[in-house]
Amino acid sequence: MQATAVPVLFNAADERLTVLQELRDLVDHRNLLWNLVRRDLTVRYKRSVIGFFWTMLNPLLLMIILTVVFSSLFRFEGIENYPTYFLSTYLVFGFFAQTSNQSMASLAWNGALMKRVRVPKSIFAVSTTLSGLVNLCLAYVPLFVIMLATGAPICLTVLYLPISFLLIAMFTLGVSLLLSALAVYFEDVQHMYQVATFGLMYMTPIIYPITIVPYKWLFVIRANPLTHLVKLARDPVYGCTLPGGHVILASVAAAVIALVLGWVVFHRLARGFYLHV
């Protein structure tokens, strides 16, 4: 037996459901976080030979389809190099949609785990967001290939992208936390959200320019935080400009509000997860 007093591992009475406590827990479990991200990526790419290339291939095929559709069937005036226009926003929207959808599945799927080991419950949304970010970065490789092939200029402004990614990831994590907590309680949230993401894509100027929106509906598009967040990713790639001040302001506000709201709601609901997973 050890002669020295063993330190207190935890005292349940001292534990408060605070943001700081959960953050400290996350830092303590960084090895698990790293393992979860690695698991996501390995499982995704391991089983098939084309797994890794699929991330590359997916935007390429999409581009071909959309270029055919929107260059020949529907045409928007004043958009040069449509593939770049479309992909520079579609990739980040895809990151948002996939991550938030997967977070719901991930939390429900890992429910059994939460009942049996002491883990910070937000770790699943965080790890899904991180592995989504890795996939997003990989997806930019074919975008740059396409840009070179179609003669679109690649400017130094792309160096701004990490900031865009950071804000989009913060927003995505906030929404993911909020939705995944709700999805634990209500099974149908996940199905409803799939329809909602479909609608959201058309409420965001991704396949069309914002200039075609009728004035009376413009406020709807402007009220959508994703409108500003995708512009944050489009401007440095398509058009070689840095995003304007109001775009940055709106994006920062959306990211911070979503993250704080998601975090607070998640922790209010997390206490009851035990009865539902």
Binding site: L9, N11, H29, R118, F186
Partner: protein
């Protein structure tokens, strides 16, 4: 004097649940909320549980289904937070609530060892140091580098047990783990647990195997409907539990339905 490993002071755990069970859709919830047809029911999973476990002691937790045994273990593991009271745990713990937990079918046995270790809160470096020992204990031969999905159930259990008993811990929390596996696996488990006891590791063990509990444990905690019915020397408590069971079958009550063990 060494401080106790586990201290529970008046630990209570209550849930507020919807009286109408089975609202799992948002639509239904919204309708009920709008029409003000929400009835909550208080559910007591643990009530005023107090006990201490000295370092190096093995404590068995017995009681009917739904008496709160698994809930108590989860409070000790830090998975559930008590509504009232204090639960203090001293020392690093390895919860073995279920064998084979958190394995990923697509990853190899070796990769899963690291993943499982991370779940138990162990660092990468620590798992690397322990890897050889775990691989040797699991004794899976070539299979260690194959994906888990190619394993038989017994092989998965062996790997899980190897990880659980090889990580360094001062407190072991075991929930019915001895109930799984074949006879030889059970003997292997029991030998290992005996070795832990000899090494002065504190053990909390939930079990329905009363003979096993008497043999393994120093003290026994008898839970009845979330409250401590008796706590004392293993043989005594088990004897009075047996006497009470013989008098007539008791039912666990509503707790069972809302918080099933396992």
């Amino acid at each position: 004097m060494v401080e106790p490993s586990v201290e529970f002071h008046g630990v209570s755990l209550r849930y507020r649940i919807l009286a109408e069970q089975g609202i799992t859709s948002f639509k239904e919830w919204a309708i009920r909320w709008l029409t003000r047809r929400m009835h909550y029911q208080e559910l007591v999973a643990l009530s005023e549980v107090s006990f201490t476990v000295d370092a190096g002691h093995a404590v068995g937790i017995i009681g009917h289904n739904g008496a709160g045994k698994s809930t108590l273990l989860r409070v000790a593991a830090g998975i559930l937070r008590p509504t009232r009271g204090t639960a203090i745990v001293r020392g690093r713990q390895a919860p073995v609530i279920e064998l084979g937990l958190g394995f990923e079918a697509e990853l190899s046995g070796r990769e899963n060892i690291f993943f499982n270790g991370a779940l138990l809160g162990r660092s990468q470096a620590e798992m690397e140091a322990r890897l050889d020992e775990i691989v040797e204990f699991a004794d899976l031969g070539e299979f260690i580098d194959q994906p888990i999905r190619t394993y038989s159930t017994g092989m998965v259990a062996r790997l899980a047990f190897a990880v659980a008993v090889t990580v360094d811990a001062q407190i072991l929390l075991l929930d019915e783990v001895l109930a799984v596996g074949d006879a030889s696996f059970r003997i292997k488990c029991q030998e290992r647990l005996q070795a832990f006891r000899d090494a002065g590791i504190t053990i909390l063990l939930v079990s329905h195997d009363l003979d096993g509990v008497v043999q393994m444990c120093d003290e026994v905690l008898w839970l009845d409907r979330g409250a401590v019915r008796a706590y004392g020397p293993a043989a005594e408590v088990v004897a009075s539990y047996r006497a009470s069971v013989a008098e007539g079958p008791a039912v666990g009550g509503a707790i069972e339905a809302a918080a099933p063990p396992g």
